[in-house]
Point group: C2
Chain length 335, copies 2
């Protein structure tokens, strides 16, 4: 039995080309079924560029509209009832696919999934959970952009969901949960984190206290909780900085003949290092807290990132992620 993933073929900076290219690799190598959602003509044009597509399990759901990056999510979804992201989410709700993948407008993806799936009992707001590398082992950072305006109890719910996700995705049995703040002491932070800190002390998690920005990559916590605005900035600043480090290092290394030799010799090492910090290795962030599976990809998703995100979606289905999250959340009274 194949797992089928609904894919918003129209979402992402290089859609549909890079989305379809990546999804096809997943379909081919992992026996995943695809429901490509978007305008039929450009989708078929892209498919025709790849050989051997007819042997794969691919359906197309033809939708004439799409949400553009510049549109406010709520307005766009109201005005475009046949937008690809909305049709894709509804196809998952209707059982035509087991999970949704979108690399398009994050706000619209969250809103469409929320509307189609509804929330898990006990959850007030969904959260996007991404896996970040640390010096020790990978960790879960959430929310990275689903809920930009949070109240303290939302952060408590994120902590419980993040711990459940760390158990499923990272095999981390007793994840240490840290609250991202501006100082380790509980008196430090903004109103949101100071109040959340008090709730987290009595929440059914292994609370490790506040964690500062400089410690998240040191591996001091397995789950790092913050509001969606802070988490998104944290993730994007990290990506931009890694790119900048690469550029600056390259400049410095090209400056002299001696270091150019050094660069050539150590190129293999760079590649391995870069891979450990490359978000596209992880591919996507699951949206936790909804009664359905949705993986959100980066707007700049490469085919490799799309392939990995679609694989992640299929694995989430076969791991029973949704059921396990629901069970953990309902076991802990969060209200």
């Amino acid at each position: 039995l194949t797992v089928r993933i609904a894919i918003d073929a129209m979402g992402g900076d290089d859609a549909p080309a890079s989305i379809i290219a990546g999804a096809l690799v997943a379909a081919r190598h992992l026996q995943i079924g695809l429901l490509l959602v978007g305008a039929r003509d450009p989708i078929e044009r892209q498919l025709s560029r790849h050989p051997g597509v007819t042997s794969l399990d691919i359906d197309i759901l033809d939708t004439p509209e799409r949400v553009d990056m510049a549109e406010p999510a709520a307005v766009a979804l109201r005005r475009k009832p046949r937008a690809s992201i909305r049709a894709a989410a509804e196809a998952v709700r209707g059982g035509r696919a087991a999970a949704l993948f979108s690399a398009g407008h994050t706000g619209a993806s969250v809103m469409a999934a929320h509307a189609a799936f509804g929330r898990l009992p006990g959850v007030d707001r969904p959260a996007l959970a991404t896996i970040i590398p640390t010096r020790e082992r990978p960790a879960v950072l959430l929310d990275v952009g689903a809920t930009v305006e949070c109240r303290p109890q939302h952060l408590v719910q994120f902590a419980i969901m993040g711990a459940a996700y760390a158990r499923v995705a990272l095999g981390c049995e007793e994840p240490r949960v840290g609250l991202l703040s501006v100082g380790e002491e509980e008196s430090k932070g903004n109103d949101l984190t100071r109040e959340a800190h008090q709730f987290l002390k009595s929440a059914p998690i292994r609370f490790a206290g506040n964690i500062e920005g400089r410690d998240i990559y040191a591996g001091q916590a397995d789950v790092i909780v913050c509001d969606g605005f802070t988490g998104n900035i944290t993730l994007k600043v990290s990506e931009g900085l890694v790119d900048t480090v690469e550029t600056l290092l390259h400049e410095e290394l090209s400056a002299t003949f001696g270091t150019r030799v050094g660069y050539l010799l150590s190129r293999q090492a760079y590649r391995r290092f870069r891979k450990r910090l490359d978000y596209s290795e992880y591919g996507g962030a699951p949206l936790l807290g909804l009664n359905g599976l949705c993986i959100v990809g980066h707007g700049r998703s490469s085919p490799k990132a799309v392939r990995n995100a679609v694989a992640m979606a299929a694995r989430a289905v076969s791991d029973g992620l949704l059921h396990r999250l629901a069970r953990e959340v309902s076991a802990h009274s969060m209200h």
Copy 2:
């Protein structure tokens, strides 16, 4: 005529040793006078470890108390009227020194400086402004931790002060001011940034719109404005990531003989690259918006960072930073 800087000798992870070591280098090489504020005994013990101190222009202001990192700032300052940070700020107000440097508890430093100096007319909240490297040229990021809870008009005031600081410190005549948010479009962000965006469009600055986390190191703006919580996380995440990149690269480069050779050959390049990203090159962050000069250092300040921060404080005095800020702020009605 020497410029004298008041130094909270008791503030910082390795105080007073590293604070005094760094301040003495500045005193020796830049003919800066020091007012060392703290407990006389440990200060004199540290001074005795450095040769040739008697030829330098050094005063000690003996204060029995200090604020510890774990104390809530307001409580500590109320309970400890003779805390070193408070005495140092009052010494500047009283004219015994021209500026204040503290690498101690940031909240307590901000609060003590605020109480001693008062605000510039037209400013409601102070902001810590740090200089960050980008691929193009250095930029100003503010607030990095003085005001963790902001309203939209505070961000507008930070934008005006940040632009004035970029003119003075970076010689950037028409700085482009970006608002740190989770999307380039003005509809994206949290309540704070969406509202601030509207005000900034009509503020007397060259507003470059929202800027995403991944673009701050690309050099897309000369001044990046955000609330103190977000700015502090941004700065600390960056520091932690640079450390982690160094560790991971070193691990990868040590893995094989070939890359070890590459590492040796490119060591000089690493050193230059690391220096471009090292906060201690900049040393400290001036607190903007108060009617007096205060430079806040990193809690983990090395002697080199302290030396550079004390030099920055002296330069701020000789550049007339305070006067120039006051003039720019009053020229723009911010209320």
